[in-house]
Amino acid sequence: MAGKNCVAIAGDTRFGVRNQTVALDSNRIFKINNRTLFGMTGLNTDILTLRESFKFQMNLYNLEEEREISPKTFAHNVAQTLYSKRFGPYFITPIIAGLEGEDYTPFLCATDLIGAMEFPKSFVVAGTGEESLMGVCETFYKENMEPDELFEVVSQCLLAAVDRDALSGWGSVVHVLTKDGITTKRLRTRKD
């Protein structure tokens, strides 16, 4: 979700196989650089593979370009990587959130599993509980929220949506990205 010169990404930390919960600490939100956060949902093996793949690509970018990648360029990179597997796709739904440019304008991007990009101004959702999330975010979102308020709203949206989805929960993490850095907090969620 986007606020005033800040963005927040939140996700749950459950790893499950059909109905069984296997792990409670699977992190799916990764920091690309100080300006970009990248989250994925979907098939766990593809999440792990793409995490390594993008880490490699970003390291190479930093060495060749001698600068940090901007969120918009990274989003296009993600889309291109996903489309390269058009006929045997990665089963993930990525979300990119970052702060763009000198004046730290919030940038959000969501793509589908083969890289169709969307740049909404308010919030993006993904995962098994995305329909519930969409509803709650739509209700609670306001423009130009300060980081503290943004954190509250994002946390409450995630908790509410996750409590209505059988396959989500068992721990959650919220990252708030401002020009001063990233704050990470863990929320106490339901463990049933």
């Binding site: 069984q20 919960t21 509980g129 209505r164 396959l167 463990k191 049933d192």
Partner: protein, 287 residues
């Protein structure tokens, strides 16, 4: 075209009417839709995964794809549950969760999965909620009438047998009932598992539902005949809590009941997640 199911139905309906002493109140008069082949129609509108697979070969609609049939399904099964019951020296313990899911959407966190049959018998609900609720309430009516007519309390074995016979007569109609009849009678604590397929099993412990494998793990490890009342209640509670933690389709609140010679009593009603956090803290303190 005669199908095996309808032949059995005709035979069984006549024998059940002969031997049942509740004819005017029996459910054999449940209405069927006024169409040519009501039996097949009843199956075609069920959306339960188990029935779709089982009846794949039997139906004349087998040319249709399973997905199409599932979309046409008007009766959406609310599945996902964990219920358990066990008998021990001092009585019967029944513990249930309270979540109902429709696919992965949590439809409710506050479902009553224990239905009282009479003051000393409880039935649990698993599978189709409407089916279980109706048939358990009907069983309650029958047991009440038996008591009035015969001036003695009905035994758990007899009550479960009555329910079993009724459900067998509706076999293959797409009912989904996985109920446990738990009680205390002159023979001591009793526990029967009744299925909509027609099974009736007697044992000292059962767990039913999507979370039952996880509950069995805790239950089997801690079960003994000579548990104290506190230990037995705690065992039931822990087993359901473990199932709600591990199984995504179980959760909500954990309700524990106890049945002894004085009847059934609701012991506790705890939020499943809070209970888990409490157990975690206790473990940490021990270390």
């Amino acid at each position: 075209m005669f199908t095996l199911g309808s032949v059995l139905d005709n035979d069984f309906k006549s024998t059940i009417e002969d031997f049942s002493f509740e004819t005017e109140f029996s459910t054999n008069q449940l209405m069927l839709p006024n169409i040519e082949k009501p039996f097949e129609f009843a199956q075609s509108i069920i959306g339960l995964e188990k029935d779709l697979q089982e009846n794949e070969n039997q139906l004349m609609f087998h040319q249709q794809k399973k997905e199409e049939r599932k979309e046409r399904a008007l009766i959406k099964g609310y599945k996902g549950t964990t219920t358990l019951a066990f008998i021990y020296e001092k009585g019967t313990v029944v513990a249930v969760d309270s979540r109902a899911t429709s696919g992965q959407y949590i439809a409710s966190q506050s479902v009553q999965k224990v239905v009282p049959v009479n003051e000393y018998m409880l039935g649990t609900l698993a599978g189709g909620a409407a089916d279980c609720q109706f048939f358990l309430a009907h069983l309650g009516r029958i047991c009440n009438l038996y008591e009035l007519r015969n001036n003695e309390k009905i035994s758990v074995a007899a009550a479960s047998k009555l329910l079993n016979n009724i459900l067998y007569s509706y076999r293959n109609y797409g009912l989904s009932v996985g109920s446990m009849i738990c009680g205390y009678d002159t023979r001591g604590p009793q526990l029967y598992y009744i299925d909509s397929d027609g099974s009736r099993l007697k044992n000292s412990l059962f767990s039913v539902g999507s979370g039952s494998p996880f509950a069995y793990g805790v239950l089997d490890a801690g079960y003994r005949w000579d548990l104290s009342k506190e230990e037995a209640l705690d065992l039931g509670r822990r087993a359901i809590c473990a199932a709600t933690f591990k199984d995504s389709y179980s959760g909500g609140t954990v309700k524990v009941y106890h049945i002894d010679e004085n009847g059934w009593v609701k012991i506790s009603d705890d939020d499943a997640s809070e209970l888990w956090y409490r157990y975690e803290e206790k473990e940490k303190k021990k270390k």
